[in-house]
Amino acid sequence: MRIDVNAFLGAYPYRKVPGTSPEAVLAAMDRVGIDEAWVTHLPSLFWRAPAEGNDWLYATTAAYPRLRPVPAVHPGLAGWEEVLSVAATHGVPAVRCDPTFLGIHPAGEEMRVLVAACGTAGLPLMLAVRLEDGRQRHPNDVAPELPPAAVRALIRSDTDVRLVVTHADRGFIEEVHFGSTPDESARIWWDICWIWGPPEDHLETLVRTIGVQRFVFGTGMPLRIPESSVAKLDLLELTPEQRAAIESENVRAITTA
């Protein structure tokens, strides 16, 4: 069983990306052996009101049971509590908010209120550090990357919230993990898509120093080819139990904690 917690549907505004339809994402999943993917409507991440993409997301994922919706919420817009409530009724595995794309402070009052609400509702909150390598972004794509300090602040701000952070590299993860208490870091899961494999062996190091239980399988597709995350695991010396933890078991911990 392999679950991809970090996938998207729909076009990217800054360059042509092939394979963004639900059918194409499912074909990519079949190609690399992904059973289930958590998907967000990619275009709406760049809208003023990103939750306006959620209806399409719910309708689309209802038609494709292997795709599970991760709807977007903007805590600075009136009615965001309703967005959260609707998400809960749809049984989503997580909701997402990418504050720097929204132009709000990544650890400001709006985010802290959202974090508290997610904690109360038992909804994991997903945040992306980035979507593309900062060196290649479109000249007009200037939203800052999510800073590690914001993740530390958010996890400290509520004792119940669970965070799923995608597209983080080794330095980011270490800074947050070792800058948090054990109770705090135990409520953060990291997807592996941006962590380097050999010869630098960042993922191997993190599994050893932070623990396999903190990592989940994610690809960032279709912005990134999903073969990359599978190859990272294929190059690791993992026990079957460790591999299963990353590929699916840790995900269950996120959704059932």
């Binding site: 360059r15 042509k16 990306v17 092939p18 394979g19 190609r31 690399v32 593309e132 390598d133 060196r135 290649q136 000249p139 380097w196 494999g197 050999p198 010869p199 630098e200 062996d201 597709m221 279709p222 912005l223 990134r224 080819i225 073969e227 990359s228 995350s229 599978v230 190859a231 990272k232 294929d234 190059l235």
Partner: protein, 266 residues
Amino acid sequence: MLIDVHAHFFHDRTPRADWRERNTSRLRAGERIGITIHVASILGSWGRTSPTYFPSPDDITHGNDTLLALQPQHPDRIRGYVCVNPNFTHHAEAEIRRCLAAGLIGIKLAASRRADDRLLDPVCRLAREYRVPVLHHVWQHRRRDWPGQEASDAVELCALARRHPDVRFILAHIGGGGDWQHSLAAVRGVPNVFVDLSGSGVDGGMLEACLATVGVERLLWGADLTLDTGWAKLRYLAHLLGAEQLAAIQWKNAARIFPSGAFPSD
């Protein structure tokens, strides 16, 4: 057969205490992936006694010596580029002659001088004389200067390639950061520039764009600092291409541009 045209190794005079582990890791992962030959370079002291992209002559010599020593230790796995800093013309020329005669098979230029600079011409004349390719570090669309290097982009490399049409140039790591679409547009009409697929970037659409722009015959497989992304791109290409086309990228194109006999079954 699989040739990684963009590999690196470390040595005892670099800042890295883990240099042995990194070298071992590359070779171990290479076995898993099926890499037949790692064509590697060493950029001086990797910053310990001179900057990585502006290596001193002494550091360059030590790095090249290290690579020359590694080759016979792994005769079935490692080949090397002679690395030079074109700001030191006489040293660069002497180092190229010395190291190619000793068995290295290509020339590596990092970011010590812009690719279109006239100081690179003596290096290219030697590449033509010895019939070896030049692997040039490239920043895919340099919109500003970056600290620590005098990075070149594809437009500048193509200017050099047009001045030296008989030399084969390898544009480094199309997935190594920056706007690869800018690079692909630049190299489209420059037949002596080959594109190395290495780098941590695994953008959806990048490999399709490479194939559409320069075709199978000008693509070379490589990994650079991330063998996982290199393997991922290889797997994705296997989904896009037939066996013959894939073999061209895996090794046949490399065998065509490196000196005859550089690789085991060549």
